[in-house]
Symmetry: C2
Subunit: 358 residues, 2 copies
DNA sequence: TCAACAAAAGCAATCGATTGCCTAAAATAA
DNA sequence: TTATTTTAGGCAATCGATTGCTTTTGTTGA
């Protein structure tokens, strides 16, 4: 009976030990070696004022005791936590996943880690993400705003807290921050000009939410191309909010039912919308590209697989991510650069495939 | 001249202020209200021992002074930082991006944030990621190991530090941790059985690196299906390391050149490999699915777009992510559950499309 | 052998929030 | 009115690493 109870207690203490194993600190190392914690700290950080002999002893003991630095404590003291926060609408969208991969590639080299948040296209949630990251005192916040974006006070607040802010792709234009952008207008203009050159004359536009700069810019590029080539702007060919495959399909159905249907569609929102358009056209026995040209945006992986393959615009997303991170590291210490409204523009690339080759 | 210098100093101090604006702490609030920091802390955390009047005053003042809690300091004191670390081979692969999105959905609800690392399929880098996360004292580490995975001492070390560890998809079988897995063997068996039922008799296997459990399991499922239906195992139809589109294409070319080529290919590695196979077959004027059946794995978005559409296996990746996070939150405090070798298995789903419909 | 100096190691404050314990004040009961 | 109990708020230690300053030890040169 006694033995049973003893075993029980032993069990409980084991569990407790498992839950909260006391982690080894520099104090433990110091005590073991009869040294002062400061010496241990200096040894571990390659600081001066430690003899080579004790330094090696400390390093060896730390290794033996399985010591791991507590970055939380170190960060509190030094005030710099090597962490960068990233806020995107969705982690699992190709473009954003690639940008993050690009950022990570650079930050990893520098020994920084990334904290990722997704806003789910909701402004409310975006604000919460910003709060989380500012509370954590991250070294920098990188953001592409949600579709639901309304006002930028939460972004201004980041700056007020003294945290460098880098916006990319979808940005609040009016805010004076570092920005890494695609030249959407030029890309759209190039795409539409290409279609005009191929002989398309009634080019429809599938546009995205106009509160986002990127969709405004793409529309501007579309309009500029028409103007340049003396083509009229036909309002009934401009379809609002067609930025998913389904919405793209719906918009295309409407377009193709017009008395004077378009002979081409520029799905400025995404390749998904372009795919929706393609499927609708194919379903109606309309020949692509002969009767209808289609151009997408974003260079999704399925673009080459579709039949016909889809002309699109590549945004160099991984490069974009790398550029963002480099922008931070090139000027990490200069307070003034933050206010200089530094903008880096990446030139997207038109990828011509079969869907516009009449 | 004096004025010039003064201006200069002013400039410099401005820059300095921008770089390191002193952030408002509870001490600032306490001083302003002639209170003790402890009261401020209690007021902000809804702790007791503060009158409603002072509490409201404190909250109002905190708001006015634009106070943001310093989570680093709070975490150091409480020892619990609401952060979960995730290590995956690549952030920008569909499957992993979706799993992360699933994890994030749950952790966000709980007020936790995610630190994401990618191992780039390198064991060395994976170890560094583990170090970073343990140093940060994250509350939990979630990992899917790299293709380069050799030994699991770094994972054991996570447990030694008392950090709960959840492995998913690609796991170190021998380690006693929580695991969330796909039932790869059953799924593979189901897929191959389906092909056999459709009349395919010489089914080739494109297999992945056998140091990864998932590829071993899929192979086992393939073998079990053959055995069950009394089909012989033909070694020359089993192709090693065919786990990208290119490698899948190369393997397929070899297979189709055999004296007795296969009449079906099970690309157990990915839809990409299946796509490679499909393109090679199409290029050789071999009819899919009439002359050659093809089945992939992972349900990539292009599966429906390919011609013919590709039969595949959906891994329910977002659900998997959610399950992982829930597993952590259901048992966050129970030391014993960690050692119970808790395994959750998610049943993948065979998605039959045209590429196997002879 | 001793002064002068350099190197090594110790001391103690600090970062900012949290929390157990204690005291003062207010509210209630006797 | 006094005794007793709540309630509000203050004090000080704590989490673990870092770092300026001081003290001790060791080395070099005279």
């Amino acid at each position: 009976m006694h033995i049973y109870i003893l075993l029980c207690l032993f069990e409980i203490s084991t569990i407790y030990t498992m839950k909260q194993p006391k982690r080894v600190t520099i104090y433990d190392i110091a005590k073991k070696l009869n040294l002062n914690p400061s010496s241990v700290s200096r040894a571990l950080n390659n600081g001066g004022n430690v003899s080579i002999a004790t330094k090696e002893l400390i390093l060896k003991t730390a290794e033996e005791m399985n010591y791991k630095v507590n970055s939380v404590a170190a960060n509190l003291r030094t005030g710099n936590n090597q962490t960068i926060g990233v806020i995107v609408p969705h982690i699992n969208q190709n473009f954003f996943a690639n940008v993050i991969a690009g950022i990570e590639e650079v930050t990893y080299q520098k020994g920084y880690s990334l904290v990722i948040c997704q806003s789910n296209e909701s402004a409310e949630r975006e604000i919460k993400c910003v709060d989380t990251l500012t509370n954590q005192h991250v070294s920098c916040i990188i953001i592409s705003v949600s579709a639901d974006f309304k006002d930028s006070s939460h972004l201004e607040n980041i700056q007020k807290q003294g945290i460098p802010l880098i916006q990319f792709d979808r940005v609040a234009d009016e805010l004076d921050t570092m920005k890494v952008l695609n030249d959407n207008e030029s890309a759209a203009m190039e795409a539409v000009s290409h279609m005009i050159a191929k002989g398309y004359k009634r080019i429809a536009l599938l546009e995205g939410p106009q509160n986002l700069n990127i969709f405004r810019q793409r529309k501007a590029g579309y309009l500029r191309a028409l103007k340049k080539h003396n083509l009229p702007v036909i309002p009934e060919l401009i379809m609002e909010n067609a930025w998913t495959k389904e919405l793209g399909a719906t918009a295309t159905r409407k377009l193709l039912k017009l008395a004077q249907p378009p002979d081409a569609i520029f799905a400025s929102t995404s390749d998904f919308a372009a795919l929706g358009a393609l499927e609708v056209a194919t379903g109606m026995n309309i020949q692509v590209p002969q009767q209808l040209g289609i151009c997408g945006y974003s260079n999704e992986s399925f673009g080459t697989i579709a039949n016909p393959s889809i002309t699109t615009i590549d945004q160099h997303s991984i490069l974009m991510g790398k550029t963002i991170a480099q922008l931070y590291f090139n000027e990490p210490d200069s307070g003034i650069s933050i206010s200089k409204n530094q903008i880096v523009s990446i030139r997207p690339e038109l990828i011509i495939r079969d869907s516009t080759l009449k």
